[in-house]
């Protein structure tokens, strides 16, 4: 067994400890910003939908502002965003480098994306259901929690899955500019030192990450769809 590994992935074995450390860093860069974005994204997604024209908490000015801000952040390429918000990152995280420094830009990069995913998931909730809830005397809060977030759950989970997968991509970019993690690992060893086996193993690991996230998402969607 060891012989085979030595033959095919010698460099990976040499950098074993660093690889494990990288996996750990990627895990942090996906999970922490992921959870924060989840909360903020759901919040913004809900606001985007309910303040729309004709909806339960119609508010043209607020909706317009939110749209503009989200579009602004969505249109900045992530690599540039990392650099652009360095002062903010320093203010929040205390540092702009390392894994810790990558968390803030990751949140900024993910929240607008996830908010849009939420918006589309919640927009899929049949208008008739909102009308029915209103006719039964439900308040706006009731409608948000008992109708939108509940009936939109399959779409929300789909959005969460897509967001986490894209977050893995963003974490690799953040890594390459100093955040650590699997992206950084692959660039430094695989790309810059021409150790192709490292790139290959990294890809496999990332593929497993993505498949696990997708798999969990699919199971949950199946569970909440009746």
């Amino acid at each position: 067994m060891e012989e085979i590994l030595l033959k095919y992935i010698p460099n990976v074995l040499n950098a074993k400890e660093e690889l494990i450390e990288s996996i750990h860093e990627t895990f942090i860069m996906v999970s922490i910003p992921g959870v924060i974005s989840l909360v903020l994204g759901v919040l913004l997604g809900v606001f985007l939908v309910v303040t729309r024209k004709g909806n339960i908490l119609e508010n043209k000015i607020f909706n317009n502002m939110l749209e503009k801000i989200i579009n602004l952040f969505r249109s900045i390429p992530f690599v540039i965003l990392i650099a652009a918000i360095i002062p903010v990152t320093r203010m929040i995280a205390g540092t702009a480098i390392g894994t810790k420094g990558a968390l803030v830009p990751l949140v900024f990069g993910t929240v607008p994306f996830f908010a849009r995913q939420m918006e589309s998931a919640l927009s899929e909730v049949d208008k008739g259901l909102i009308e029915a809830a209103q006719s039964m005397g439900s308040s706006p809060t009731d409608i948000i929690f008992r109708v939108y977030l509940r009936e939109g759950l399959p779409g929300i989970i789909r959005g969460v899955t897509i967001t986490f997968v894209s977050l893995i991509g963003l974490s690799a970019i953040a890594g390459s500019v100093g955040g650590g993690g699997l992206g950084d690992f692959a660039i430094r060893y695989g790309y810059q030192r021409f150790q192709n086996d490292i790139t290959f193993v990294t890809v496999i690991i990332l593929l497993i990450f993505v498949s696990v996230i997708r798999g969990i998402g699919d199971i949950l969607i199946k569970k909440v769809t009746h």
């Binding site: 259901l129 009308e131 006719s135 039964m136 005397g137 439900s138 009936e151 009746h226």
Partner: protein, 355 residues
């Protein structure tokens, strides 16, 4: 129970102004089933949404038990809405909840304990005949069953009024009949007042006590269902009636060139409408004997509306012109509406005066 007073609803998207409901006033009495019929786009759905203020009227008042809903605060309005149930064409059930939890949805905040809630939901499901479907999800139900769940859910807070927005339009005729029967039962059992929107005259015929006909946002004719059926005034109303009967087809046949009924030039073709008591009199044979004419029934249609027979016949009178005139006068004396129809072969001297 409900009074819609001078209600106007306009939609204005900045460019176009659409008047969906145009100065409509309707009074709906307690315990009646009130129908509003109109083609799509007539404004009837908007009107029914004005009643529980899902659409806020641009002008006018909605009085619910004498109180104007349009001046209520959102919070008070929500309380009032619990007393006005509503069911929909597409049922609008929560797909993520099973039948039990769909019916229990509006009970949240009603201060019922878990066991009381259970009892209430079971009662409601029994009322609509779905006791065995408690744990099913909407996707596992047929259209008729879904609407029954919708009805149970709408009744959860013991409303006094039930609004039905095209509630049977997505159902097949047999299921429609069973849902209408259920609504009628509920009206009797719970003393519900029902407001029903539809584009199907058969629905009106089946259960409505009174009916309004809507066209382009306005109520063009209103009255007792029997009156509307037996003696419609407006063209649009007649159009709807024809959808519920075959009488338009007989006119098509009469227009045909080959004269399949072999109508002669002195024959008089009439449309005879009657209702109620005179149904039992053998009037056709009576005039036939009395005035020595022949009366041939080319077509007949008999409806029973609220236990009252309402009939329409196409009768061809054959005989002497004077005798035919006398027969028609005799019918009219008995309170029967007789309308002479041009059949294209009339001689000029015959009656043009119609009722």
């Amino acid at each position: 129970m409900i009074e819609i007073r001078n209600v106007t609803k306009t939609f204005d998207d900045g460019k176009n102004k659409i008047i969906a409901v145009d100065n409509v006033s309707i009074k709906i009495e307690k315990g009646e089933i009130y129908g509003i019929i109109g083609y799509s786009g007539a404004g009837k759905s908007t009107l029914v949404r004005c009643i529980n203020l899902l659409e806020r009227p641009t002008k006018g008042k909605i009085l619910f038990k004498g109180k104007d809903l349009t001046v209520f605060s959102e919070k008070n309005l929500r309380e009032k809405r619990k007393k006005i149930g509503m069911i929909f064409q597409n049922f609008n059930l929560f797909n993520s909840r099973n039948v039990y939890h769909n019916v229990a949805y509006p009970l949240k905040g009603s201060k019922l304990s878990k066991s009381e809630e259970k009892k209430k939901v079971r009662e409601l499901l029994q009322l609509v005949g779905l006791s065995d479907k408690e744990n099913s999800y909407p996707s596992q139900l047929s259209g008729g069953q879904k609407q029954r769940v919708g009805i149970a859910r709408a009744l959860a807070n013991d409303p006094e009024v039930l609004l039905c927005d095209e509630a049977t339009s997505a159902l097949d005729p047999k299921t429609t009949t069973s849902i209408l029967k259920l609504l009628k039962e509920l009206k009797e059992k719970l003393g519900l007042t029902i407001v029903l929107i539809t584009h199907e005259m058969t629905v009106i015929k089946e259960i409505c006590d009174r009916v309004s006909i809507m066209e382009q946002g306005r109520v063009i004719e209103e009255g007792n269902t029997i009156k509307i059926f037996s003696n419609p005034e407006k063209e649009a109303t007649k159009g709807f009636l024809e959808t519920a009967t075959n009488s338009s087809k007989i006119f098509d046949v009469l227009q045909l060139k080959d004269n399949i009924f072999n109508i002669q030039k002195d024959d008089v073709l009439t449309k005879v409408n009657y209702l109620g008591d005179c149904t039992k009199d053998a009037l056709i044979s009576e005039v036939s004997r009395k005035f020595k004419i022949n009366a041939s029934i080319l077509y007949g249609n008999l409806e029973i509306l609220n236990q009252t027979p309402v009939g329409e016949l196409i009768v061809l009178f054959i005989g002497e012109t004077a005798s035919i005139q006398k027969s028609i006068d005799y019918f009219r004396e008995k309170g029967i509406l007789v309308e002479v129809i041009e059949h294209g072969r009339n001689s000029s001297k015959v009656y043009t005066k119609c009722s």
